[in-house]
């Protein structure tokens, strides 16, 4: 069984973003980029499926500019067998990404597709679900456990009230929650080896997907600034302020 895992190149999660002065977008010039943290978890899960003998091949896929190949090499260094880069210079919306991924799925016929539950830049939380709808594959979103049992998968999902367990008919689309696993680090020899692993570049035209704009970004602003308040000396003063000044208790 093949496993496809998707990775997105995003701003590093530790970086505090700045909005451009003209309000057109956030400033990504000279900012540290990295693999989206939820995608790291997806890659780790795919590799574990291979290590446990469930998966025979792990294919990492990324959609984006040429620089995404860095993140694909990282996935290869972590244990993916080969990579597919769908090159585009545009910032694509989730539905377009899902359509491109659906074509790759059609060609590769994987048993499991693992995505992160959301990218930490757009915070959309859409692509996996859209991919499920487009391919007709069952979805297990916000997964904290994925257990493949032949022609079905048992997925434990993180939901608002706690945890929910669902049984899905294979093949499946899963999206990762933070607690699914703890991603490993790539070792130097593996990073060197990853340079020789196959990385295929495709375009949207080759895949027969027409990119369509569904939204227009009008402007990006900084959120309402929150100022630091005061320091109180002790608990008594805190309670007094909350009761008499803020009037919240």
């Amino acid at each position: 069984m093949k496993v496809i895992v998707t990775v997105k190149r995003v701003i590093d999660y530790n970086v505090k973003v700045r909005v451009k002065a003209d309000g057109s977008d956030v400033d990504l010039n000279n900012v540290k980029m990295a693999m989206n943290p939820f995608c790291e978890i997806a890659v780790e899960e795919a590799i574990r499926l291979k290590e446990s003998g469930t998966a025979t091949e792990v294919i990492a896929v990324s959609v984006g500019p040429k620089a995404c190949q860095e993140q694909l090499r990282t996935a290869l260094a972590l244990g993916a067998d080969r990579a597919i880069h769908i090159e585009t210079e545009e910032q694509l919306e989730s539905l377009n990404v899902a359509k491109l991924l659906a074509k790759v799925i059609e060609q590769e016929q994987p048993g499991v597709v693992i995505l992160g539950k959301q990218a930490i830049d757009t915070d959309n939380n859409q692509t996996g679900q859209m991919l499920s709808a487009l391919t007709g594959m069952a979805q297990g979103t916000f997964a904290s456990k994925i257990d493949i049992q032949g022609d079905k998968a048992i997925v434990i999902r993180e939901v608002d009230g706690g945890l929910q367990t669902v049984e899905l008919a294979m093949p499946i689309i899963a999206t990762t929650d933070l607690r699914l696993n703890e991603p490993r680090y790539a070792s130097l020899p593996n990073i060197m080896k990853a340079k020789r692993k196959p990385l295929e570049v495709k375009t949207a035209e080759e895949l027969g997907v027409t990119i369509k704009a569904h939204t227009k970004l009008l402007c990006v602003g900084a959120p309402a600034e929150r100022k630091a308040g005061i320091k109180v000396a002790d608990v008594a003063e805190l309670v007094d302020k909350l009761k008499n000044e803020a009037k919240v208790i």
Partner: protein, 308 residues
């Protein structure tokens, strides 16, 4: 313009998140229909009909909609989408699970977690963990939207909408509900509580959360946690406040032993009053706290409890 709101409910009554979503819908247009899909969900439909401003309630009462599995729900919603200009759901785990699939089947984009309605096609939403706010215009004929519930007030309950049965049975038979593990709590629900007290790594272990619970009981508050506290196994993940957990905006948020990482702030910085109790006076949480107390939480929290 005609709007369909997908209700979140427990078969007995609609959840508060539905009330916030109706308010967002009414900011777009007056013609608001609510869909209650579930199994034995007639009394939830009755409660939806009471929401102020709702003109019609559609009830899809069938075992295939029990537990609102995404595959069946999205097929049903797509059937009901004809003639609608907007499809709205709360940005809860349920809404997030269902709506993008609806958008994909309709070949339209989705606008996630809106915090403001500017016009019928222009919305504001936070991006980059709430460090920027994007204003986006939808170019699609049908707008599929999820609503950040904390950004909209709850609608009242003075309505008298008509109730209509939906007979469509959409069973994709791809997924099956097996079970759930619900965290039981006597305290108010985290996302709708007026007061939230949260603990972080500084709590040390799970038992020490008892200190926060004691304060919570006196204040009628909900107890939350940072990701560090959840990952360390102190408490269960449904208590996590942050970009990847729950978004809260209570009147009072008390952060105890939480440093204030970007990820956590994304989930609580719209609270009205923020209190930070931390022994590290350099902790980033103090830069947004209205009232900061530099103290050892193991002394300060019991003292706080005693003085309430």
């Amino acid at each position: 313009m005609s709007i369909l709101v997908i209700a979140e409910h427990d078969n007995d009554s609609v959840k508060n998140s539905t009330l916030n979503t109706v308010t967002a819908a009414l900011a777009i247009a007056d013609d608001v229909t609510v869909l209650v899909a579930g199994s034995n969900c007639q009394s939830a439909a009755q409660s939806a009909a009471k929401i102020t401003g709702v003109s019609k309630v559609l009830v899809a009462d069938n075992p295939v909609y029990a537990n609102q599995l995404a595959e069946n729900m999205r097929a049903l919603i797509v059937e009901l989408a004809a003639g609608k200009t907007h499809l709205l759901a709360p940005a809860t785990t349920s809404g997030k699970n269902i709506m993008p699939g609806v958008a994909a089947l309709l070949d339209v984009g989705q606008i996630s977690e809106i915090i403001k309605v500017e016009s019928a096609d222009v919305f504001e939403r936070p991006v980059y963990a709430g460090n920027a706010v994007a204003k986006v215009q939808s170019l699609d004929a049908i707008k599929v939207i999820t609503v950040r519930t904390t950004a909209f007030e709850e609608a009242g309950e003075t309505g008298r909408a008509s109730i209509e049965e939906v007979s469509a049975v959409c069973d994709e038979a791809k997924s099956k509900f097996i079970g759930e593990e619900v965290a039981v709590s006597e305290r108010p629900e985290l996302t709708s509580a007026k007061i939230v007290i949260s603990g972080g790594r500084g709590m040390g272990n799970g038992e020490n959360f008892g200190l926060l619970e004691a304060v919570a009981d006196k204040l009628g508050a909900a107890v939350g946690a940072s990701r560090a506290a959840v990952d360390a196994g102190f408490v269960s993940n449904d208590m996590q406040v942050g970009q990847t957990g729950k978004i809260v905006a209570p009147d009072l948020y008390i952060a105890v032993g939480i440093s204030g990482a970007i990820q956590h702030l994304a989930g609580m910085k719209d609270s009205k009053v923020i209190v930070a109790i931390n022994k590290d006076e350099e902790a980033p949480i103090f830069s947004i706290a209205d009232y900061g107390l530099v103290a050892d939480l193991f002394e300060a929290v019991p003292e706080l409890e005693a003085s309430l």
